[in-house]
């Protein structure tokens, strides 16, 4: 601890004097609808906290910084937030490569970082998992990391198999850090369940011609594509599939497809595609907090630029992260990371928060994923904080999995 304290310049933030206001730094790609939603929910959380008397009677501010999804920009913005703006905590970051780029700086400064967008397990295992004392100011309150997502995906595939009899699948993924678990573990896991892996491709994230990929899928005769696209914008893929009236399912994760107006933006080409997303696209009460939160978002930003209906997944997680931080500070009685980081860490690890994206608890020091969001499981051990939504005909967004949160049954594509 003392070694960390020595590194903090001028007792930055609430550091030295422990006087308010408490300043939250929010890092996100702000030109992306995902980042816009996250920025708005950060403002919502801060406004609500302020209306209710702040944190430990101190005022709360938020400062937004645009990472542009670029590791270099993120580094300089993180430095600006910590050294110039003297923030007391940082939340956000979407691209895993961006998160990992600021990790060493953040560790050196000791300022708590709560990740709300990026899912790569290596962000935990290769940093705090490797050197706990160095990186213990790191937390991820959501989404669950992609190892858990891969496990949840297998459960979901079982569900699809029961529903439609699907048993052969084509796996497509971004060639990026967050997808490594899917590429590494899903083929074996699907094989174990007795499914046929008809195709397995990692795609260059700058891909612009999907025809060959679609042809490969058609040739493989897979019942469904399971694709993991956070970087790749698969809209042209969907348009071509719709125009060719192909009937394989499109499952997995597609961040672009989480835009609340996506069905409209693609003229309905998105119909039948599903994506997992924290918060379930605001369609269902993941917890009792979810729908009131979505309602408040809708009301407040009805006349703003898109995304209007609901934030994308990162917005749910950012809102939760700020509330988790508030509770932890109040529990531990300190936000003074320069002098009492251990107090903050201890309080953070006691988190049991009913958030808008789910019940939030964090793994402790000795877990496989220290300080990472715990997956929640139902009675049968199935991961339940991994809701899947589907665009259904007429642009309706429905939650189709897990069953306790589902608002509609998953639909097989028919044209």
């Amino acid at each position: 601890m003392s070694t960390l304290a020595g590194c903090v310049p001028g007792g930055g933030g609430g550091g030295g004097d422990a006087e308010g206001p408490i300043t939250i730094g929010h890092l996100a790609p702000l030109q992306n609808p995902l980042g816009v939603g996250s920025k708005r929910t950060a403002n919502m959380a801060v406004d609500q906290i302020s209306e209710n008397g702040g944190i430990m009677d101190e005022e709360v501010d938020v400062i937004h910084a645009d990472t542009e999804g670029n590791p270099g920009t993120a580094e300089s913005e993180a430095e600006r937030l910590v050294i110039e703006e003297e923030v007391d905590v940082m939340v956000g970051t979407f691209v895993s490569e961006v998160t990992q780029a600021i990790m060493d700086f953040v560790a050196q400064e000791g300022v708590p970082l709560i990740v709300t967008g990026s899912a790569a397990p290596s962000t935990v295992t290769e940093f705090i998992g490797d050197d706990y004392d160095q990186y213990k100011n790191f937390f991820r309150t959501g989404p669950i990391n992609s190892n858990f997502q891969a496990e949840a995906m297998v459960n979901y595939v079982n569900h699809l198999n029961e529903l439609h009899g699907w048993d052969s699948f084509a796996l497509l993924a971004d060639d990026a850090a967050w997808c490594q678990p899917f590429v590494d573990t899903l083929p074996g896991a699907l094989d174990e369940e007795g499914y046929d892996l008809a195709l397995n491709q990692s795609l260059n994230i700058n891909i612009d011609d999907f025809s060959p990929v679609i042809n490969d899928v058609v040739e493989s005769d897979a019942d469904a594509v399971i694709r993991f696209f956070a970087h790749i914008n698969a809209s042209p893929f969907l348009v071509e599939r719709a125009q060719r009236e192909l009937t394989f399912g499109i499952e997995g994760i597609h961040v672009t497809g989480m835009h609340p107006a996506y069905a409209q933006l693609t003229e309905g080409a998105a119909t039948y595609e599903t994506t997992s997303q924290s918060g379930g696209g605001g369609t269902t009460d993941i917890t009792e907090e979810t729908l009131p939160f979505v309602e408040a978002y809708r009301e407040r930003f009805a006349d703003s630029d898109p995304p209007v209906g609901h934030p994308m997944y990162m917005g749910f997680n950012t809102y939760d992260a700020i509330n988790v931080y508030k509770e932890a500070v109040e529990r531990g009685g300190t936000w003074d990371y320069a002098n009492d980081l251990d107090g903050i860490v201890e309080a953070m690890l006691e988190t049991d928060h009913t958030g808008v994206a789910g019940q939030i608890q964090l793994y402790g020091q000795d877990a496989e994923y220290p300080h990472d969001a715990m997956e929640t499981r139902d009675d049968e051990g199935t991961i339940s904080n991994f809701p899947i939504t589907q665009w259904q005909p007429q642009g309706a967004l429905e939650c189709v999995y897990p069953e306790q949160h589902a608002t509609a049954e998953h639909m097989e594509p028919t044209w």
């Binding site: 609808p33 011609d209 025809s211 058609v218 040739e219 914008n233 125009q243 192909l246 003229e267 995304p307």
Partner: protein, 303 residues
Amino acid sequence: MLSGLPAVLINAALISALYALIAIGFTMIFGVGGVLNLAHGALLMAGAYVYLLLARDTISVPVFESMTLHPLLAFPLAVVIVAVLSYLLYAVIVQFVEDNPVVTFLATIVVALAATEVVLHYAGSATHTYTLIPDGMLPSTIDIGPVDGILTVDVVGFVVSWISIGLLWVYVTKTDSGRAIRATSMTERGAQLTGVNVHAVRARTWLVAGALAGIGGVFLGASTSATPNMWLHPLSLAFIIVVIGGIGSIKGSIVAAYLIGFLQTGVGEYLGQNFRGILSLVLLVIVLFVLPQGLFGREFDHE
């Protein structure tokens, strides 16, 4: 089912036609004025977004409310608007700086970046897609020989590409106004000596190149999607194609567009999608070393 060589060849031909549309305008402007128009990609993007503005109601800008025109009306209108934008780019900015290549270079890249910001401001970074073929007019896919499930919009793009190239050919070989463009691109001084008004020729070239970019942009947006960064890749593609084809040569651009289109599709199919772009760059380097003037280029002599 789509499989094997026929599908690859047809896909390659379709995408090459689009590449040709993307590259010709770029090469014409370089040929006539010696201007590297880095805003060429922005003109392509303008094609897609102007079409969106005219045909779909997902974005709106002040003054001009978005409308939902029939595609057959929206398409030519979008092309005309982009042609005018291209002309204005020349008339308002480029003509005053074109003698200085560095300033022109900077001015056009600034225009491209500004265009990105404008699109981001009014349309956001969300992806917009649109269908160009009106419902019920043509089926959305067609079969060609053993290959089925080819997108009609790509086939229409191919046909429109060749019609445009044909019209351009007639224009630059059969009409005085077009021949003046060709003459100027061969030798500016020669053209001047034969009474060609070089300034008017340049303005006309920007108009024609803009129209081609507009056509290319509308089809590009339809076959991929409209995003604020959609211009970047086509611009680099246009560069590669134009260098390989021979800077300033329309014929060279067409041949090179097909070369690159077939190369990329073939490599993507048989070596993997991740290698798609690499071989084009290798080819570019080889051409630069072995045939620096390109396939159909001449040694340049801009005095």
